[in-house]
Symmetry: C2
Subunit: 229 residues, 2 copies
């Protein structure tokens, strides 16, 4: 894995866990210092994140964490439903014991995180969906579930009210059950209403207060990358 990919992943996680909030500036050389890399490398990471629509590149004016509109958020969740419907269809055909084990293992992590900080729970909830995609072994599905999942996570950071995150652990459990029992119709239905519920819980409150700038919240993510040298 590249240094630039590492930085990309670290920033992505930081955004997902709300250490970096929508609208925050991401200056190249500040990031370079934090991560112990040159601007070239940071720049690559930012360009990649921009391609994923997690950051916005304003010409000659630097990068900021993206600030998706409510309409975009709605479209993202609708699209997510469509894609993950396909994931369920693909997955249920070859569903096996190993799949159940891995999904349950992830579910345990989610349960364990319930007591801890909320952002981690939110990240884990997104990663449950990504795990489902990974089990299909389809690079195409994995790629788009990841990307849309991250973008949905970002919109949650903007628009969901705090502590709304009964992140649907129970709903995740029911989806695993439906997959195990081979009930395609029920699994698809559950996934559809789960995602609908997540969107409903989330897309209500337009954030009012400006985020508390600045980059110090990034420090733990940067340290992990630096120490990897």
């Amino acid at each position: 894995m590249n240094r630039s990919e590492q930085i990309c992943a670290a920033l992505r996680t930081a955004i997902l866990e709300r250490a970096l909030l929508p609208g925050m500036k991401l200056p190249e050389d500040t990031l370079g210092e934090r991560f112990g890399s040159s601007r070239t490398i940071v720049r690559q990471a930012l360009e990649r994140l921009a391609a994923e629509s997690l950051v916005e590149l304003r010409r000659n004016r630097g990068a900021v964490v993206a600030t998706p509109s409510l309409e975009e958020a709605r479209d993202l969740f609708d699209l997510r439903s469509q894609i993950e419907d396909l994931v369920i269809c693909r997955l249920i055909r070859n569903f096996n014991e190993d799949h159940v084990k891995r999904l349950n293992a992830h579910l345990e992590k989610e349960v364990a995180a319930e007591a801890g900080p909320e952002p981690v729970s939110i990240r884990l909830a997104t990663e449950f969906h990504i795990l489902l995609a990974q089990l299909t072994k389809s690079p195409v599905l994995i790629r788009y579930v990841e990307e849309i999942g991250y973008r949905c996570g970002l919109t949650l950071a903007l628009y969901s009210r705090p502590h709304s995150s009964d992140c649907g652990i129970q709903e995740h459990r029911e989806i695993i059950d439906a997959l195990s029992s081979g009930d395609e119709a029920r699994a698809r239905d559950l996934m559809g209403s789960h995602l609908g519920a997540v969107a409903d819980r989330a897309l209500i409150k337009p954030e009012t207060e400006g985020p508390s700038l600045y980059l110090d919240a990034l420090e733990p993510y940067a340290r992990a990358v630096r120490e990897d040298s």
Copy 2:
């Protein structure tokens, strides 16, 4: 528009029109010479195309036009159906005269191109779907219809048999009709079977002969960018 975005667009069109075939090498400095730009700029374009999965970046081994597998192709077309189904749903609610006009104008281009070179017809067929997405005005839908559409176009370059392209002009016409008459069920159904038909016509023949390397086919695309200075 950036120079690097121009190069990106030129390469994308070249790939779509099959001037650049899957597996062809794309060395940075060769491209730089052709487009009259430095390696840095070309590199940006290649990285972006890699993010779109149109080219593959092999570490320290250069870039090549992507060579999607048949399975990926199948997943891409399935995903495309799911996304464009959503496009139809969104579009039909606010469908108006201007939309009809623009779609028909595009259809005329497709008809006019029928006599000409096949690659242009194929590109226009893809762009019909992109136009539908654009009419929704949803950046999210536009973004993913474009990307998946281009990737499907690339798979057609690999796997469709030559001259299979009755590219479905008649099917496009019927979709416009259904949209005009406000018949959502029929429009969605037509789109679904249209995309299914495109995939069926295409995903049959595994290409045998190696593509005729090399980059000279790129010249017309490069000239357009150079002369833009």
